[in-house]
């Protein structure tokens, strides 16, 4: 891309007016891009979808905390006691429950995703119901786990 302005994009030759081998620079990106994300009204299925993604990234970080707790709890009796006292601290307990909440939603939305792969519930109406079910199921599980663990 060296020597080419960052205001430019590359398109496949088939979509360009100027013929040249491979890919050619042929278009400016000063066209209006309407992505006023804060002004969109997203359907519930879209919110569930992005939440699935956000919880996935959160779990990428959260796995470290879970591995650490399991590591010390399995390593020695002192470690097991240390893990217990760590999880007894309100802030850490809150973070732990947040990780469990992310995991719960990620699994519930993931099961929904597998059903969608088989074209179960992938119509517009069913997608909304699926999103509603996955949110409600997550809230119920996390509420129960929160009460149990707190």
């Amino acid at each position: 891309m060296s020597g080419i302005s960052s205001d430019s994009i590359w398109l496949d030759r088939g979509r360009c007016r100027t013929g040249s081998p491979n890919k050619v620079f042929c278009m400016h990106t000063h066209r209006p891009v309407n992505l006023a994300l804060t002004k969109f009204s997203f359907p519930l299925a879209a919110i569930a979808s992005i939440t699935h993604r956000v919880t996935g990234v959160a779990l990428f970080v959260g796995v470290a905390a879970l591995l650490y707790l399991l590591d010390i709890a399995l390593a020695s009796d002192e470690g097991f006691a240390a893990a217990q006292s760590l999880l007894a601290q309100p802030l850490i307990k809150l973070v732990f429950i947040a990780i469990l909440a992310a995991l719960t939603f990620h699994i519930v939305a993931g099961v929904k995703h597998l059903l969608l792969d088989f074209h179960i519930g992938d119509s517009v109406g069913a997608a909304k119901i699926g999103a509603q079910i996955s949110i409600v199921v997550t809230i119920v599980i996390v509420a129960a786990a929160g009460v149990w663990l707190w």
Partner: protein, 122 residues
């Protein structure tokens, strides 16, 4: 321009299948652990140790570690290639994306070694 050089299998379809296969393994693993936890209220370390040191559970745990690494890599790669591109990040987007990807790979490499160590030494 974003390409699939750094995707797990360099095939969107193969990544798609691996993402789902590892998801099933991970969901089953989580169900097992949660079931074990619920079946053993007021758990002590001996119970925990006994559960994770059985051979089937060691195999399952290490399978889950490897599934986590593959699943997370496909997911983080997808997120990175969706957002870290010229449209949002300007001319140096590819540099940023490669740095992000290498960072993710380093973290996942640590998770792999750490996870295998935790379960294999039991």
């Amino acid at each position: 321009m974003v390409n699939n050089v750094m995707s797990l299998s360099r095939s969107g379809l193969k990544d798609f299948v691996i993402q789902r296969a590892t998801a099933v393994v991970l969901a089953l693993y989580v169900f097992c652990i949660v079931g074990f936890y619920l079946a053993n209220p007021g758990m002590d370390r001996a119970t925990l140790l006994g559960y994770f040191s059985s051979l089937p559970m060691k195999v399952f745990s290490i399978m889950a570690v490897l599934a986590t690494v593959a699943h997370a890599w496909i997911g983080m790669w997808t997120v990175g290639t969706d957002y870290i591109r010229e449209h949002y990040f300007g001319a140096h987007a590819t540099t940023f994306r490669v740095v992000y990807q290498v960072g993710c790979l380093l973290v996942l490499f640590v998770y792999a070694l750490w996870g295998i160590d935790i379960f294999w030494r039991l």
